[in-house]
Symmetry: C2
Subunit: 341 residues, 2 copies
C-alpha cells in the first residue's frame, strides 16, 4: 500500500485519495461506501477526485469468495423468504453465492458474526430489519466490505445506504380506503416502535385520518410487535371494549391474521361486522379466509435493489441515491366493506 | 498426492486407501462420502482399513471458506425457512456460513450452480427436495465435497445419505384419526407423484384405511402438487360431486388451506360439515381459522440433522446411518370433528 499520490493518471486507491484530499482513509472509505456522515465539502472534494482520476478498490485476496452476506434478525415467515428471493435473482446474475445468517430475534449481531464475515470476505453485506453497531460496520469498511440496510431498526449505524418501501404512503392509502367505505371508528395496531418502517406506517395512517377531519381516537391505538398472537390479543382487547371499532388497520399481515382470530373468537364476521386491512401482502394475506385487503410492499424488489447496491458499491461505483424507496400499493380483497350502520 | 501406501501408522488418504484395497479412488470416495452404491465386500474392506488406520481427508486449500451450501428447489413459504433454521443452528455451532441457492422450481441444478459450488469449495452440500444428476454429484465428490439430501425427489442420485420425516406413519396417523372420529367417506389430495415423501404419506394413509376395512374409494383420490390453488381446485371438484366426502386429508398444509377456501366458497363449515387434516404443521396451519389438525414433521430438526451429517462427513467420520428418519406426530386442533350423520 502506498499512501503517496500515484504519479500516473490511473485510478486512485483509498490511501491515495486520502493523501490527495488531506483526510483520513476512514473518511474516504465512508464516501466510497455510500455513507452519509461525511461533511459535504469533504465529500465533494473526494468525489471530484474520483470523477477526475477514477477509483480503484483495494485488491482483494486472490481466493476471496464470490459471496454476498444477508443478515436477518429472524428467519420466520414469508417476509424473509421474499426478500431473499430478490437477493437471489441478482446474485444469480452475478454468479454470487448468498450467505444467510440470522440473529435469532436479536437486532444486533454478535462478535462471532462480524469475525466470520471478515474471514470470508464477501462482496458486501445486506442487513435486513437489523443493524450493526458503528464499531461493527467500521470493521467491515476497514476491509472494504460495503453494507446496505433493508428496513433499518432504531439505533444502529444509520449512515449506511438503505432500501425500504413507501411505508408512509401505504399507511395513508389504508386510512383513505377505510374512510371511503364510510368507517369512522377505526382502530390501529402498530408495529415495533423502534422500527422506522413501522413508525412510517402509523404516521401515514394517522395523517390520512387527520386530513379527513377524523383524527385517530387514542383509545383505539394499540402498540404491537408484528407477532400474530399479539395482533389477536390486542384485537380482543379492542373488540371487547365499549364503542367497538368497525375497522382495524394492522401494521403487518401477521397481526391482521391475529385480528381474524379475535373476530372468530367473538363471533364477528369479516367484513360484515369488522373490516380488516393488513400490510405486506404475503401469501398468508391472499390465502386467508376471506382474502385480506392489505398494503403490498414489493419485498422481492427490495431485496434485489439492496443486492444491486452491494454489487455497485463493490465495483467501486457511486450510488445514484443513498436511500431507495419502492412504492407500496393497496390491494383490495374481501376483508373490507362499508360499516353496517 | 502419494498413491503408495504410507509407511507410517498415520491415517490414510483416499489415494492410499485405494492402493491398499486395490480399488479406484472413486470407489473409496463413495464409501467415505456415505454413498450406498458400493459392493458390500468392497465397502467392508475399506471400512476395515479406515477402522485400523484412520482416514485423513485430502488437504483443502488453505483459503477454503467455512461454508455449507443449501440448495432448495424453490424458496417459497415456511417449509424452506424451517429447514434453514435447523441448518443455521448447527452452522452457528461450527462457525459455518450457510450459502442458500434455489432452482426457481426446477428439481435439478444447472451447470453454473455446480461450477460455483466447486469454486467456493464448501464443507458440503445439502440438497432439499431437489437432486443432483449423477454426473453432478460425482463432480462434487471429486473435490471431496459431501452431499446430503433432504426429502429427495424421484430420479437423481439416490445413493447419497438422506434425511426425511416418518411420512408413512404420518399418513397412517391421519387416517386413524379420521376413522376414530367416525368418518368413512374420506378423500385424499396427494402431493407430487415423483416425490418420495408424498408417496409415503399416501401409502401410509391408504394402509390406515385398508387396515380398518374401509379402503380408499378411487373416486375420492386426487393428485396434487403441494400448491394452495391446486388444493382448492381439487377440493371444489371433490365437494361438488355426488356422495361428497365428510373429510379430506391433504398431503401438505398449503393444499389443506386450499380445501378451506373450497369449503368457504361452497358454504361448508369446518369442521361441522367437513373435517380437514393437513401435513407439515407450518405456522399457516396453527393460524388458520379454525386452527388446523395436521401431521407435524420436525423440519428444523431435519435441517439440523442434515447439517450434522455434512459436518461429520467433512471431518472424515462415518455416518451411523445412511438414512435418517425423524418421527412425525399428529397435532389435533379444530378442523376435525365427527361427521354429522
Amino acid at each position: 500500500m502506498d499512501p503517496a499520490p500515484a504519479a500516473s493518471d490511473g485510478p486512485l486507491t483509498i490511501a491515495q485519495l486520502a493523501a490527495l484530499a488531506g483526510v483520513s482513509t476512514a473518511t474516504v472509505s465512508k464516501v466510497v461506501n455510500g455513507r452519509s456522515d461525511v461533511a459535504a465539502t469533504t465529500r465533494g472534494q473526494i468525489e471530484e477526485l474520483i470523477r477526475a482520476r477514477g477509483y480503484r478498490r483495494q485488491r482483494r485476496p486472490a481466493k476471496a469468495a464470490a459471496l454476498v452476506d444477508v443478515l436477518f434478525h429472524e428467519l420466520r415467515g414469508s417476509y424473509a423468504i421474499e426478500i431473499l428471493n430478490g437477493v437471489q435473482a441478482v446474485a444469480r446474475e452475478h454468479r454470487l453465492g448468498v450467505v444467510v445468517s440470522e440473529l435469532g430475534g436479536r437486532h444486533v449481531p454478535g462478535h462471532d458474526w462480524v469475525e466470520d464475515v471478515m474471514a470470508r470476505r464477501p462482496l458486501g453485506v445486506i442487513s435486513v430489519y437489523s443493524g450493526l453497531k458503528p464499531g461493527q460496520s467500521d470493521r467491515l469498511y476497514s476491509r472494504d466490505i460495503p453494507l446496505v440496510l433493508v428496513d433499518p431498526t432504531g439505533d444502529p449505524d444509520h449512515d449506511a445506504p438503505s432500501v425500504g418501501a413507501g411505508n408512509w404512503n401505504g399507511g395513508l392509502s389504508a386510512a383513505r380506503h377505510l374512510l371511503a367505505l364510510g368507517h369512522r371508528r377505526i382502530a390501529v395496531i402498530t408495529g415495533p416502535d423502534d422500527m422506522e418502517a413501522a413508525r412510517a406506517r402509523l404516521d401515514g395512517f394517522r395523517s390520512g385520518l387527520d386530513l379527513a377531519g377524523a383524527p385517530l381516537d387514542p383509545a383505539l391505538e394499540r402498540h404491537g410487535d408484528f407477532a400474530i398472537a399479539t395482533g389477536r390479543d390486542l384485537a380482543l382487547d379492542l373488540l371487547r371494549a365499549e364503542g367497538r371499532p368497525t375497522a382495524v388497520f394492522a401494521a403487518n399481515d401477521g397481526m391482521a391474521i391475529g385480528v381474524y382470530h379475535a373476530a372468530a373468537a367473538l363471533g364477528l364476521r369479516i367484513p360484515a361486522d369488522l373490516s380488516v386491512v393488513g400490510f405486506d401482502d404475503l401469501p398468508k394475506a391472499r390465502w386467508s379466509v376471506p382474502p385480506m385487503t392489505t398494503v403490498r410492499q414489493p419485498l422481492a424488489d427490495m431485496g434485489a435493489a439492496a443486492a444491486r447496491m452491494v454489487v455497485d458499491l463493490a465495483a467501486g461505483g457511486a450510488l445514484p441515491q443513498q436511500r431507495v424507496e419502492l412504492a407500496t400499493a393497496l390491494v383490495v380483497r374481501e376483508s373490507t366493506a362499508p360499516p353496517r350502520d
